[in-house]
Symmetry: C2
Subunit: 225 residues, 2 copies
DNA sequence: ATTCAAATGTAAACTAGCCGACAAATAGGT
DNA sequence: ACCTATTTGTCGGCTAGTTTACATTTGAAT
């Protein structure tokens, strides 16, 4: 891949903002580049060499499967995020994969070992990275306590608000979200059954709080949700 | 505090193993030291200056309270762990505190800002720290999927096995755990009601899988749990 | 245009676990 | 040794949410 292109890929990721232009140009640690279409699966754990992945375009979900075959959606990711062996340690136990949710997904990756070298040479980058992982953990913890203390209805509301905040187009209190998730996906995200999710979404629609279809979700007034 | 003492405190924490003796001696960033008795509360979020805490002796639980007053036990910690603003970012929203579970708890702490400086100057330490946080996140994720896919009974079993692994005294497959938790604590850890926890513990005892009292828990054969 | 698989809608039966309420046992303080 | 607060034990009634099962709608492919 052209050095120039690598530069642009790294440059517009939050994580590398602390680096100067010349520093970024020196990195050039990107070794992989992948395109995927809706539904494509991208294996990463227990794959060949451990890597860190940067979603560049499109949306993907991280799914894990336990011994009994239960699927859990761990995260929904897009540009600006990271996935892979974020703990910088290999772990063969976990069985996770990523799945493209939209067409035209592109992802680049670098080797864990290269990234580690880079961190050792750039302490401030290491610091940003740690903060990044810490933030991720914080979000996770928050989900966890929602799951423990809140019922499915309010988990759906928080999820929708969250989603709107991250990707929605605002017009005052009205938000339009491009909907690349099925109701089954939403159900898994908020940890409930598909039927319950359907029920709750329809209820929100009946109360005119949202307008839902397969292409978009419109939240009439996010403050009322 | 004597420099000598600080040295010993840092030296036997996993995190600082990668550093040489002379490096450790240069640190001396410990600024706080606190002793607590069973039941004492140690506030740390939204306290004065952000800190990182090192439990030195005894057991503590991290509890968080949300807007509606729901208590969730986040973690049980002991020597070798860390708590505080692990994401290295201040966060006034979260309302967490630590509570001593055993008598003679002692904790030392250093300022977040001091620690950050230290990380920037010691890239390899930054790396270990990142791995440490990453590992914590991994454990957290594991809990999360247990909560989603497993019922209370198997959550109790995994918790007991985990606890045994971390602190139990093994004699073959038999394990003795010093029990500093109430059934209510256990219930909160496995995210169920106190009554259900009591029920399940008694059921395990009736099946002769464990022997339970307030001082200790004996697991007859951990492989059968 | 037709076909077919995936996604959505709906309903009844069922159940794990919660909640409230109270009794009994235990331990720590004076 | 006594008092009191905390912890543990136990019991129905209750409910949110699951499960099973089937119908309908939608959209993409041929």
């Amino acid at each position: 891949m052209y050095e120039e292109l690598k530069y642009w890929y790294l440059r517009d990721h939050k994580l590398f903002w602390t680096l100067s232009m010349s520093q970024i140009k020196q990195l050039c640690i990107i070794v992989g580049f992948k395109k995927a279409k809706k539904g494509d699966v991208i294996y990463f754990s227990s794959s060949d060499v451990p890597r860190i992945f940067l979603p560049k375009k499109g949306n993907i979900k991280i799914v894990s499967i336990d011994e009994e075959g239960n699927e859990t959606i761990k995260e929904i990711l897009q540009k600006g995020d990271l996935f892979g062996e974020l703990s910088l340690e290999q772990d063969s136990e976990v069985n996770e994969y990523a799945k493209a949710l939209t067409d035209e997904v592109s992802i680049c990756s670098f080797l864990l070992s290269d990234f580690e070298d880079l961190l050792v040479r750039n302490p401030s980058l290491a610091l940003s990275y740690t903060k990044f992982v810490g933030l991720k953990m914080k979000r996770f913890k928050n989900n966890y306590s929602n799951l423990v203390t809140k019922d499915a209805k309010s988990r759906l509301s928080s999820f929708l608000k969250d989603w709107a905040q991250r990707e929605g187009k605002f017009e005052g209190n009205k938000v339009v979200i491009e909907n690349y998730l099925t109701q089954n996906d939403i159900a898994q995200i908020i940890c409930t059954s598909r039927q319950t999710a359907t029920l709750l979404l329809n209820e929100l629609e009946e109360r005119n709080l949202i307008y839902y279809n397969r292409r978009e979700i419109i939240i009439d007034d996010i403050s009322k949700l």
